[in-house]
Symmetry: C4
Subunit: 194 residues, 4 copies
């Protein structure tokens, strides 16, 4: 089985998740700028989640450029990842509407954690299918970012009950890590072409 | 006519159905973990429906990998299937919000039943187009799972009025059946390549 | 410019329209079958609109299988069609929730009419681009269905104020016309392949 | 990396944005034509935003037909553009529901401005990747429309507090500019084929 249709379906789901989150930004009844002020935390948590879905789409895109084909196991590992990502609109809305209250901030981190684990499982499923010496396995490499992020989320969950600000700072920091250009797979793809 | 655009359209509809269901998980006003408790049955029925849509996407994916081309009849058989699947967000929300009350649980099963029948019709339409000796007809085979599942749903509908728990247990069991790796079409595809 | 991306975008919009309509089926609070009764007209108008979007998708699919490439004018003619189709969820909800009241039924017909005209404009734009002797022009042919349907809608709009039932009967009849297999473009495509 | 999946994802997001905006057209409870009157400004701002998303899709389509491949920077520049476009349903709803009140009209212009800037950044990112002498760089050319539009939005924002009508007139005028067929990239593509 080719990867194209799995990619198309995932693109569809990710596109909808990223766009549905904006529905939590409810149109206010008042018409002055002050009416936007209570929406600011909702907007900020939307920005954070938008960046996260963007990161997942980016990584997913790279991963399946390197992978050759999919098996039943990979299809389900991918659906498992999409399931946790589909909960982002809910946790984003809950955290944003309650100005970073402790429990919603912790639950936001929990869903981030589960999505990160689901991504690692997806990588494993692909490596299991194509072999440890396959091109995709070498392109993934040790993936220290993929392994560090869940640890950050795991630390942030209890911290949310001490200080939601520190917890959300960790979420921002973990997102920032992924921003630092990591051209691992890109470079591997370029090399292969040569 | 090639199958690509039918697949793209179906992917789009399935991606939206799977994501729209999550909108039934309404963001609570309270900010403690207890606020999530009434959402638990909604979440559980979301998980069940997510898995069902995943199963349909999986099977659909396999089916159209084996099929060669589409006719007008196949387009409509496919739309018929998508129609019943599009009712999942409604029945999932109704069952979930009412903690497995009898009627919503029975109606959930009725839509599952209609979707299963629609899938069988779609398979027949494809076999009718490509012939009983075609590659796709042999790949589908007797499809005992496709024929057993509607019987399970049919049994669950009246049972929902006796015990909604048994009925939903049957829905879970039928979903579980599809999880057991059934590499029928995959194997047929691999053989063809050789 | 190739037709692929226009088709992908249109597929996306049509997939969302067809799925978003189901959101008008609001989950009832009661848990007995009687709770579904007031939803019946909503469901019926959903079925009708689902079939209409299906018909448009079918025809669009066939049209762009025959067309070779797109121009700026075709892109806008296509967006114009999608605009009117995007109003279907609104008119469907309005007509369904008000049990076929006169004005909503007439407005439903007005949007059907505008969509039908937009489709004719799209056909013209494609023929203008590819020429009257092009393959696509001959595949479209006189398109009597495309020209009869707007007349039916035009008749139904004033009739909705006399009898909404007759008006909606005309909508059903027009949809039925498209169901009668019309293998015009399909046959033309098959011929070309030979 | 090929441009296909970036295009597919963008198509998905744009298709959802364009369709989700229509949800602001809430189904009225009354059943006479008068019930549609308060919806008129909502409908008009929907039409304007529909055209804007259509313009962005058109330009995006042309841009990536000329571009050859994408880098990490281009992926993020594209997501940045999609972020601002994803706010259109919110600003469209706010402006439409408040009959062109000053602040919502100014905020609508602000999001238009940010989207226009994001588009310029995307163009730069592509030119930076492919080089100033690349085909895509020459196809983009000086892009005076892309540079004039943000100036118009910038002028409209303060003007919205003097006269929202003039401000929205500027939005309509800027959209109109893009309607004038500008076959720059199309012509360049045709030339290349020859």
């Amino acid at each position: 089985m080719k990867t194209t249709r799995l990619e198309a379906f995932s693109d569809g789901v990710l596109a909808i998740i990223i766009t549905i989150m904006v529905l939590e930004l409810k149109v206010p009844h008042a018409v002055d700028l002050a009416a936007l002020k209570p929406l600011l935390p909702v907007l900020l948590s939307y920005v954070l989640s938008f960046i996260y879905i963007g990161i997942y789409w980016n990584n997913h895109h790279h991963l399946f450029q390197a992978a050759k084909e999919v098996s039943g196991g990979i299809l389900w590992a991918n659906l498992h990842l999409l399931f946790w990502l589909s909960l982002f609109p809910f946790t984003t809305g809950w955290m944003g509407e309650n100005h970073l209250a402790s429990t919603p901030t912790a639950v936001y981190g929990f869903v981030l954690l589960m999505a990160a684990i689901a991504y690692l499982i997806l990588e494993r499923a692909i490596v299991a299918k194509e072999g440890r010496d396959s091109f995709v396995a070498r392109a993934i490499g040790p993936d220290w970012k993929g392994k560090l992020s869940p640890l950050l989320y795991l630390a942030a969950i209890p911290l949310a009950f001490v200080s939601p600000l520190i917890a959300s700072g960790l979420y921002v920091f973990a997102a920032f890590l992924w921003f630092i250009p990591d051209r691992r797979i890109e470079r591997a793809l370029e090399k292969r072409e040569e």
